[in-house]
Amino acid sequence: MNEPLVTDPGDEISACPNCGTKIPVSLTPERCPVCQLRAALTVNLTSDSANTEAQGLANGVQDLTQGTIGSFDHYEVLRGSDGTPVELGRGAMGVTYRAIDKNLRCPVALKVINVCYLKDESARPRFVREARAAARLRHPNVASVFHLGTKNEDYFYAMELVEGTTLHQLIQEKGPMPVPLALEITDQVAAALEAAHKEQIIHRDIKPGNIMLRFNDDGAVNVKVIDFGLAKATAAASSLNSEPGLSVPGMFTGTALFASPEQCAGREVDIRSDIYSLGVTLWECLTAKVPFTGTTFEVISQHLNSPLPLEQLKHIPLPVVGLLKKMLAKGPDERQQTPSELRSELCELKTSPSRPVRPSAGKSHFGARMWLVLGLALVIASAIGYFLWRVNPRLGSTSSKSVAVLPFDNLSENKSSDYFADGLTSEVIYQLSKVGDLQVTARSSVLRYKNVPDAQRKPLKEIGAELDVGAVLEGSVERSDNKVRIVTILYDAGTERRLWGATYDRQLQDVLTIQGDLAEQIAAALHARLSTDQRNRLRNEPTLNLSAYDLYLQAKALSDLHLKDANDRAVGLFKQALQQDPKFGLAYIGLADAYIDRVKRFNGEGTSLDSAIDLCQQAIALDPNQLRAYTELANAFNLKGLFDRMEAPVSKALELAPNDWDANRMAAAVSTEFRRQKEMYASIRKCFETNPFDSWAPYQLALICWTVHETGLAEKWMQRAIDLEQNVTKRQLMENERLVYRGDYAGALPGLQRLPPDVKTQYSAAADLVLFCTMQVGDWPSVIRIIEARADKDSPTNLMRLTLALRGTMRSAEARQSAERMVTSAQSKLSTSKSPRWMRFDLAVGNRILERNEAAFQYLRELMTGTGFPDPVLALADPGLDVFKSDSEFQTLVDEVNQKNAETRSQISQIEQSFLVAK
């Protein structure tokens, strides 16, 4: 066996005990660079350092006022593009920020006690009490609190960051909701209260703004109650803990609109107060209105004295009205006494709607139309799948035939054989992608579950939900000498039920057959269709030479690091593997991939692509059904700009594995080049299914949607992409880019100007967007300055921009000269340019400025009805086209484009429907 080549690069690294940043051990903690830098923040420069040096330094110290929010322990508050902290909400006691846990590199919600409360001595113990109370709660319907800390004088606590939408937003956006959905949400909040009640905790601020919703793909809703910030341990619990209760009778801390009469009256409250608030919440769900409105005083007075405006509920089934009346009874004794009681009534309503809710006082009557109404509501509920989906595109088709392979644990004593476990994981994923009937999560989306300490592992259910899969495979590999033990268990992600499992105690040699066997077994366990051909392909051993295979796995692990030096070593190892077994198809493909990486990432010579193409073709000659050979071949053609030649390998790859991420990504590349928006959307949509943590797919989908003016969907996808983007600067760029697509150019400009000009998303560079917005706001002198400073200022497209700017500043003669230069230059470059679309665009605009209208329209037609615009997303907004605004022919062309966009919109809607139906 060869010496393992992958070593743990973390040998000499330790974590700073103060800030958690990893630092080389040679820097002792007191010299942690991050701690030293942090000490130089305004907020940390305390007065005792105000020696002459400090006073002499940047007056900025005093000018800075926003330095108080920064890092708290190992949490860093995130800042938006304008530099202000990202606030998630404000409660009576504190402000909640979006922050990042720097140790675990995951987002959290961080609640910091409100500055104005700092003066109040009583606030601190109360805040701590709240956090402790909330931390005791562990329930699927409650956002967990997991850390309480102090910084200087401030208290803060970290809690689970719940992504999704608030019930408040949903109602604002969509109005009244169907009864079954409202009851379901109420039931889940009641479940949260039930858990709280067991811990003798009350929330005291139940309202739609504190209820987060996430919709699963089947339309099922998942509710989490957030901000137990006003929760207080009840007197009983306090006395148990021998700490005095902190109730402040008479001090109104809740939201008046949702407050119970006893809260309004300043009396002691208990869990029944939460039930009342939940009643108001249910009322708002059903009617999009709250029962009592007016000034705070008026609202309080109505909660205390006024009868419910039941006429607002006239379309609501009577049993539900009965339930609401009971929840909203003025006296706590007349309401459901516990959340459990409420839940059982809700349950009766949901399952046996003919039985009335037991009234606590008075009588209720239930008409025969109740059935009808409830039945209708249920029909509507299923029809609102699309509506629900649109609320939160956390979507897709959770099919039981979708599976995620979590990174296998390496249980070998020799940790340096990690590459072996990693390699096996990748190979199993690859084998499974060959099962056409299965949808397999791509490697990059499962990597985040690698090397997670046991204590921090997420429940499989949660992982299943995050990856949107029906099944999850867990496994471990233990290798010693010539033996290998592989343990795998396949779980149903929804129920965590074990579907299948196997332990392979074998000779190392057998590892070559185990993968195919595993894939076959998993396919069978998930009832996936497997054709004879596919089955045979799974049974094909990649090589019979174990030593070649080991070299291959080492090379693959290095290659996957995407580093220059590792790439060089990987190439060497792949070649060695091929020397040992010249018929080892996967090694050809691995080598091709490494060559492609050289060009993509390390400025490699273009000839590397020719080698890659040659290698893929050799792999195909060895096995014409080798999926990855086709996707890599397409990739190489793509990078060479040979788009026509991509079609054949792409269609073969899709035939072999219709759900494969790489195959669909390459299909999208072809459709993008040929501006086939529907195909593009369909392919990328599939990519999102199998790689849900990659921001590429949602970002691209957003761009397509904006291109065809499907703005609602575009916004959702963009938000998703932004949430997934790990790089803070890129995320800021995307946030501002979104403003550009919304047409808010003036709003986008300051944020864009603050970014480094070269920061790029997959589509836009900050500098380009700055130029675009500067043109849009008509700041022509700045446009001229920007272009003059560009290295390629004489390119036709820059000359086109310059011409527009010269016109904008009334320098007509110069503008004409510039237009002449632009047209001449673009004409000469049209046939050889890498971006002929831009040349056509420039020629259209230039000729129109020079009043050569025939030529201008010829190019414009080619663009608008033929090749498509160079920048389809912003095409029609481009100021260059302003020169055509008065032409009727232009208007006709625009109408055609709009017509086409409308068609694409309906196609997109169909595609989305098909994903809904699939589940």
Partner: protein, 224 residues
């Protein structure tokens, strides 16, 4: 932004390593990366390009990196053979040194940009140490610096002495030594902030820049 040409040259000298590391991570071999970094500064000085580091345009760090990226892009179009040595050497007398520094470092999965930012942060911390050394020298306290500087900055390979050892070397009580170290650290931090302030256009951006550098260091996970 420092005004004089000397100050700019000094700034370039102190910050050339981050750019060099960036070029290396972009895949340029060592000698090419040296040539490119050197050529970059030479062209900057020749074109008085540092004057374009317009105070109204944000951070010096971003300016330098984006200029360097443009330079690299231009260079890749031309023949890349810049000759070493000659009159360009005045900027970097010890051009061999960075390579040994680089080779000692672990490979990792960082992008060139992230590498650059983390190295930039380290360069700043080092520069602040230098400033402190200069100030101590001016105040005739070089000996004190020799002992106390081991408690601040980011110099690799030398662990700070214990308080007792420091006290012995300084000829003071342990309590006094602790106070001296505390003050020395404060002085260092103030200089560090000053150094950051020299690389941003607006004092209001200092904190933001410090946070960005902390973020870069956190992302680098010790590979600095």
């Amino acid at each position: 932004m420092p005004g004089s040409k000397e100050a700019l040259s000094a700034l370039c000298r102190d910050y050339w390593y981050p750019l060099y590391a960036f070029a290396r991570r972009r895949g340029h071999p060592a000698h090419d990366a040296q040539d490119l970094t050197q050529g970059f500064f030479f062209s900057m000085l020749k074109r008085h390009a540092l004057k374009q580091a317009d105070p109204a345009r944000g951070r010096f760090r971003s300016f330098l990196l984006s200029s360097f990226q443009n330079f690299l892009a231009d260079e890749s179009d031309r023949a890349r053979a810049l000759k070493r040595g000659g009159d360009r050497e005045f900027l970097f007398l010890d051009a061999q040194e960075p390579e040994s520094r680089y080779e000692l470092e672990q490979t990792d999965q960082l992008t060139p940009e992230k590498i650059f930012d983390a190295r930039w942060a380290m360069a700043l911390l080092t520069r602040a140490t230098k400033r402190l050394q200069e100030e101590c020298a001016l105040a005739g306290e070089s000996a004190r610096f020799e002992i106390l500087h081991l408690f601040v900055g980011v110099e690799f390979g030398r662990s700070p002495p214990t308080y007792e050892e420091a006290a012995r070397a300084l000829g003071v009580s342990v309590a006094t030594a602790k106070t001296m170290i505390h003050r020395f650290r404060k002085q260092y931090i103030v200089l560090l902030r000053q150094e950051v302030s020299r690389t941003v256009s607006d004092p209001a951006e200092i904190d933001e820049e410090i946070r960005a550098l902390c973020e870069a260091l956190a992302v680098a996970e010790g590979r600095i």
